[in-house]
């Protein structure tokens, strides 16, 4: 764990943002939240296909769990309606609980798998659940000109 965290810090100190890949939503099953598992070509040299697919599939499973319509969600809905939705002042909705689990999972994946390979996953909730944004970092020492131009883009991208 200490080694991985050290890698994440090192990444941040020595690397510069080179590119961003966006994994889009997969709407083939309707409006439920699901991301495409197609492996983007930009990541081919950076990470193994299976690791990437595992991450996306796990995220898809989490979202499916959050949006599942079944006994528990009905109970929560009816209870909330009966208490005029005041119950959510004391209690979290199931969706929010799952989102917390997702945030933890993404952080863990970043520390263990992605940061050592110079990648960083941004939680989709920060991008309005539209995309999974994967930032690709490159060592500053290896590419002088690209880091120069990427730094300019980094500042104006605000």
């Amino acid at each position: 764990m200490a080694t991985e965290f050290h890698n994440l810090q090192e990444l941040r100190h020595s690397a510069s943002l080179a590119n961003k890949v966006f994994i889009q939503r997969d709407y083939s099953e309707g409006t439920t939240c699901k991301f495409q598992t197609k492996f983007p070509s930009e990541l081919e040299s950076r990470i193994e296909r299976t690791l990437f697919e595992d991450t996306v599939k796990t995220l898809n499973n989490y979202y499916a769990e959050a949006e599942k319509i079944g006994g528990q969600s009905y109970l929560e809905g009816c209870l909330a309606c009966a208490t005029a939705y005041l119950i959510f002042l004391c209690m979290e909705t199931r969706y929010e609980k799952v989102l917390k689990k997702i945030a933890k999972y993404i952080q863990e994946q970043n520390e263990k798998i992605y940061a050592p390979r110079g990648l960083l996953i941004t939680d989709p909730i920060e991008r309005g659940m539209r995309v999974i944004e994967i930032s690709i970092y490159e060592d500053r020492g290896s590419s002088g000109s690209s880091s120069g131009s990427s730094s300019v883009s980094g500042s104006t991208a605000r």
Binding site: R12, S28, E29, K68, T93, L99, Y137, S146, S150, G154
Partner: protein, 367 residues
């Protein structure tokens, strides 16, 4: 001094802005100015609702959000409060003593439920999709331009949902491909998920996150209207048994006003409840119904891919399904490291410059 933004490298290897204090950063042209406390903006760190690009109004430090035009909402409030106020003041004492005290009790519960649902529908986020960050917008532009050789490039994507072909349109304002069932509200200038309609009576859009509150509001309001109408008539009849019809009207003149308001409301509100009950049971939005998206008139094989096939499941899914959280995080603080969304209206030249720069950089990175 205020417009120049220095860039410094932070620990993440990204440029961190030393943005100048609150009020000097140019806010977008419409709609995000706070209604209260203008003086605080320059001293405290800015919250995301203060730079929200849509045409919404925010109150109570971002907790409450509504559309720009709220006049009709106040009319709704006045009508409901006035009618119920008159009912509880003039009719209930007579009814409670002559019939049963359960009448004002039930009326009270209904009234509180109606107001609760109205506030919930009016003040919450209907399911607004945040606009694309400059990086995302640039990436999409690149994909669109590289896809078609013909001019103009296609701005739609076709998706197969449960066997039915659905076209996803590109939203020029928000710079995203709209998810299925989402639509851009021109009044609020936002893309809203599962967009039903923009309701002026409620002063907000009705979308995925507040549809159930809207439906429960109109349902309970129809019950309340019918309730008041019935018991005011009962009151007048009982009184006219004692003092004659004209005498009864003279004793409680408010009843006339209540009957008139309720009579006209019943037609519209009960009708609307019936219509939305039909929409819920077939899992359609008002938008889809008006356009006839899933009607068989468009084609023999046209069907609604979102319907669960059975009325009960459709109703349960719409009313008791999980409530997704708001995607716009209105009360979060603006971090200097986070990318700001592309603003369309006054279009600070920075953001378009940014897209071009990142675009050219990404093109450079892929030889």
């Amino acid at each position: 001094m205020s417009q120049i933004q220095h860039a410094a490298l932070d620990q993440q290897g990204r440029y961190n802005q030393i943005c100048t204090r609150g009020g000097s950063c140019p806010p977008p042209a419409d709609g995000s100015e706070p209604a209260h406390c203008p003086g605080h903006r320059s001293r405290s760190p800015r919250k995301k609702w203060q730079v929200f690009p849509g045409r919404n109004r925010f109150y109570c430090d971002g907790r409450i959000m509504m559309a720009r035009q709220t006049g009709v909402f106040y009319l709704t409030l006045v009508l409901i409060l006035l009618t119920c106020g008159l009912f509880f003041t003039f009719d209930c004492p007579f009814l409670a003593s002559n019939l049963t005290p359960a009448i004002p009790a039930v009326g009270g519960v209904l009234f509180i439920f109606v107001m609760g649902m109205l506030f919930r529908a009016s003040f919450s986020d209907p399911g607004i999709l945040p606009r694309a960050t400059p990086d995302e917008a640039a990436d999409l532009e690149r994909q669109i331009d590289s896809a078609g050789c013909s001019r103009p490039p296609p701005r739609t994507r076709e998706v197969l949902i449960n066997g039915q072909a659905v076209k996803l349109k590109y939203c020029f304002t928000c710079k995203i491909f709209r998810p299925p069932r989402a639509s851009h509200c021109s009044l609020c200038d936002n893309c809203v998920e599962r967009f039903d309609h923009h309701c002026p009576w409620v002063g907000n859009c009705v979308g995925r996150r507040n549809y159930r509150f809207f439906y429960l509001f109109i349902l309970s309001l129809s019950l309340l209207t019918v309730f008041i109408f019935a018991f005011v008539i009962t009151h007048v009849i009982l009184r006219s048994n004692q003092t004659g019809f004209l005498g009864a009207l003279k004793d409680s003149p408010a009843s006339v006003l209540e009957v008139v308001v309720c009579f006209f409301s019943i037609w519209s509100i009960v009708g609307l409840s019936g219509f939305h009950t039909y929409l819920i049971s077939s899992n359609q939005t008002t938008n889809e119904d008006i356009k006839g998206s899933w009607s068989t008139k468009r084609g023999k094989d046209n069907y609604n891919p979102y319907s669960y096939g059975n009325i009960l499941t459709n109703c349960c899914a719409a009313l008791c399904g999980p409530l997704p959280p708001s995607l716009i995080d209105r009360r979060g603080l603006i971090q200097s490291g986070t990318p700001q969304t592309v603003s369309q209206s006054n279009g600070t030249s920075n953001s378009s410059y940014a897209s071009t720069q990142l675009h050219s950089n990404m093109q450079g990175a892929h030889p």
